[in-house]
Symmetry: C2
Subunit: 243 residues, 2 copies
DNA sequence: ACCTGAACACCGTTCAAGT
DNA sequence: ACCTGAACACCGTTCAAGT
């Protein structure tokens, strides 16, 4: 993540011409993270990126086909970052699943402006072979038969990605807007008439905030728990089972 | 969902001037759905919307503060649509949860171009009081104590929203790109060397496609199953329990 | 081989002038 | 009170001309 910003703190742009061949995908991606982390995803223009790099805006086109190609590279880096931390192989499949899920969530929230894009980008060939191998391995070690291990892998992975990306979107909101939204949520729900909303009224003090990191952890825990149950229960004896 | 397109099938624009006061938020939203369903979210410009409505592009500003305000109204309609189908009260809390989840998923996939936006829009005050009451009620009928009912409500609702929005994003992709992506996914995973990826190799034939609707259903089932388990197990006896 | 400057198409938004 | 026309700022993208 090296990158030498070309703009001074005073805001004046220093037109340092970059040395030849100093531009490449990694350098550009690092600068893009710097811009988005600082100014938000909306501020990531070719102009701003060129300024950050001390290069001409259109020089970026030599390394990325178009803006979508650049964004894809950024989300790829998030997956890569999650992978370096998220694959501890212990003798406990459940804690391995948990560790992988939390590593992905952590990587997304480390760069929420990029993380929020991931949900809209899942189809494009991610090559997280190692993560897939790891997660499928966890499912099999849990005791699931092949077909169910495959299905549970898919659902576990996609839930983790979707939830992490949504949490990132929330974290990416302007702090003041987010604070106002969360506050109005609380206020409105506390004002509901008990006669019409008895259940909400009964538990309203216990509803966690939208941005409580415990939410994601509980989602992961729920999945792990029922994977455990499924592994111990033959499918034909399960209530509501489906092929 | 009424809306009278002003462009003929030949592509020529008929400049029908709209009668006075015929423009309002609902009419504009309906036209916006028509545009996005037909041409994708990227084609939803004020210009295109004005053409669809037979009105001047900037006339829309009289009814929506800005484009974000319009998009928010569209996602609100998806929530509203889910609500009209998704609140059947039976004597089975689990099937009620399932019905609500599937109604939300269905509503999002009915307009995937809009549905994909929802994950990035969760914080803005949704007022789905009735849905919240319904879901919290399900959790309590399951037998969860107040604090746990509140936490499980939050996680269930957010997982459903996040997963549905991600599925919508996939469905919103250009069909040919999506098909190519899914195919390359399958090809690449079938080519992995067994020595390095034994678990993937063992189950690869059983991994469902990314766009298999059964994935979401299984995610819902996993949550329901572990809610059932939690309701029957005092928290202090649970493995890996957390406050 | 790589970078720069200029130009183009497109789009959200504003606002004064119309009816 | 509502709608229209014109203008402005901004941005992704292309490409011929530079070094």
């Amino acid at each position: 993540m090296a990158g030498s910003p070309a703009s001074t703190s005073s805001g004046a742009t220093v037109r340092t011409r970059r040395p030849r061949n100093s531009l490449n995908r990694d350098v550009i991606a690092a600068a893009a993270f710097a811009v988005t982390d600082r100014d938000g995803i909306g501020a990531l223009t070719f102009e701003a990126l060129g300024r950050e790099l001390g290069a001409h805006a259109t020089a970026i086109y030599r390394h990325f086909r178009d803006k979508d190609d650049l964004l894809l590279a950024l989300t790829d880096q998030l997956h890569a970052q999650a992978q370096v931390e998220g694959l501890p192989q212990t003798d406990d499949w459940a804690s391995d699943l948990r560790a992988t899920a939390l590593a992905i969530h952590r990587a997304f929230l480390a760069h929420p402006q990029v993380g929020q894009l991931v949900a809209a980008r899942t189809a494009r060939s991610r090559r997280e072979f190692a993560t897939v191998e790891h997660l499928v391995g966890c499912m099999r070690r849990a005791g699931l038969p092949p077909a169910e291990a495959a299905r549970c892998y898919r659902v576990f992975a996609d839930t983790v990605l979707a939830y992490s990306s949504m949490d990132a979107a929330l974290a990416a909101l302007d702090p003041r807007i987010r604070a106002a939204d969360l506050r109005s949520w609380e206020v409105e729900y506390r004002m509901l008439p008990e006669a019409e909303y008895p259940d909400v009224t009964a538990v309203v003090d216990h509803i966690p905030r939208l941005d409580d990191p415990g939410n994601f952890e509980l989602a992961v825990e729920l999945m792990i728990e029922s994977i455990r149950v499924r592994a111990q229960t033959p499918a034909q004896h399960r209530p509501g089972a489906q092929v």
